[in-house]
Amino acid sequence: MARKDKKIFFYKIPIRTHIVTENDDIVDLAQKYSAGIAAPGDVICLAESVVAITQGRAILPEAVRPGWLARFLSRFPGKDGSLATPPAMQLAIEEAGPARILAGCAAAALGRLIKKKGLFYIVAGRELALIDDIAGTMYPYERHIVMGPKNPGQLVQAIKKATGAEAVIADVNDKKCVDILGITDKSYRQAVIEALKDNPFGNEDEQTPIVILKRWKTRL
């Protein structure tokens, strides 16, 4: 008999935190704010931009010197996207290398012809889609370009070890897109995506970069 997939349902508990900086340790933060709430079987979810900020990956554009390639290529992406300014494009070039960026541009040009979106990031690297351009992150980081986090897989394992709960690092937006960058138990993946679709991290003034998902029902 075929085994049915587990259906897991969660209560969502956003936690208000202080304004996180590069002086914070993300594992300590997860432990501190989930104490007494998250238990084994629950999931501690962290917004990817906050993880990146603790890693010192929020960069002031003044600290970046865009080259001619960055200045040229930044004219082409969608203007509401993440690589529309020369400093953000320069950081993308430094992250992925000029060859991958140019290959991505060629793929994007092909994508325009065949009316298929997203080919740039498929070829140049999905980590580039995590870059938040100037004003893409809340105050006091609105002047920064925030890169994607490094080593999300290792970080979630460290959080699980420290707290006993499962852990997730995710990129979520208000268009119901959820990108899981790191997860300790892959069997939770679909349930976590469903739970985060309405963006409980918030995209306005909310200071809730940690959301605890409490398990409330298991159906087999």
Binding site: R16, D80, A135, Y139, P140, E142
Partner: protein
């Protein structure tokens, strides 16, 4: 033994119930905590909960015309929320079951509606049609951003029951003379919306211009500037007299420049729809507070 609630989050929103608006403070907890509300002095509401604190207890600056700010005081097995009020209103308390359990405090926004009801306000989005005004370094135009902010101003002011008159439609670009023709003898205030632009793209921030003919309009502009800057965290570029607005004569008038669109960061701020909402609400609240001074 009852479970001790842990407080996880709190936030404020403006909600609409039928025609009535409310400023709300919502406190989220892992279980229902015992709650006591009192009013230790005018303009202050105190909410005490038997609970532990998991969330960050830093202040929440609201400034929506009814609620000014909330500060949190952790104590021995209890947490006290001090809510500073701009108006003499009382909270209606509701508990919403679930996880998290929500304690919702609703404060009527009638004082704002009572102030604005039937007042005539002219909203003037700058530029229009083929005149785009300043262009941002990526792609935004002053014309379109002024229109967005103006739409939010109209939404806020009509919610307060004001009578709003536009100086232009989306695709029009009337002359200043034609815009001034919209002014009626009973006009309470004229609000023009622009963005700043400069060849020096490092210039950032918010400015408010005013009609120098009307005594007190400089103070009005200063109040509006103070409120906007507090709400959207932009640098203040100051207030100054505007010769175009002087042609309004004795009608109070201001010209908003929420950002310098020619700056990378400021242009990016304009992409956020909440930015326009915050500028609009801060402006409406500041105007009321200016004209109610001393009452």
């Amino acid at each position: 033994m009852p479970i001790t609630a842990r407080l996880t989050n709190f936030y404020s929103k403006v909600t609409l119930e039928g025609e009535e608006q409310f400023s709300t403070v919502t406190i989220e907890a892992t279980a229902p905590p015992p709650v006591i509300i009192d009013y230790p002095e005018p303009g202050s509401c105190r909410v005490t909960l038997r609970a532990l604190l998991n969330m960050y207890p830093g202040p929440l600056y609201i400034q929506d015309g009814i609620l000014r700010e909330v500060t949190v005081e952790p104590g021995e097995g209890q947490v006290t929320f001090h809510i500073t009020l701009d108006e003499d209103v009382r909270a209606m308390l509701t508990g919403v079951e679930g996880i998290p359990y929500r304690i919702v405090l609703r404060f009527s926004r009638r004082p704002l509606q009572e102030f604005y009801r039937d007042r005539v306000i002219i909203i003037d989005p700058g530029h229009g049609g083929t005149d785009g005004g300043w262009r941002g370094p990526v792609n935004l135009w002053e014309r379109d951003m002024a229109w967005k902010t103006a739409q939010e101003l109209v939404r806020v002011l009509e919610g307060f029951k004001a009578r709003v008159i536009w100086t232009r439609q989306a695709e029009e670009n009337p002359s200043w003379q034609e815009r001034l023709r919209k002014v009626t003898p009973d006009t309470f205030c004229f609000i023009s919306v622009h963005e700043h632009g400069a060849a020096d793209t490092s210039q950032r921030g918010t400015a408010v211009l005013y009609n120098p003919v009307v005594p007190g309009n400089e103070e009005l502009a200063a109040k509006v500037l103070e409120r906007i800057v507090a709400r959207v965290n932009t640098p203040a570029r100051g207030v100054k007299a505007d010769e175009e607005l002087a042609r309004l004569g004795e009608i109070p008038g201001i010209k908003l420049e929420p950002v310098a669109i020619t700056n990378w960061v400021d242009e990016g701020l304009l992409r956020n729809p909440y930015f326009h909402q915050k500028v609009a609400l801060a402006t409406a609240v500041a105007i009321k507070q200016h004209f109610q001074r001393g009452k």
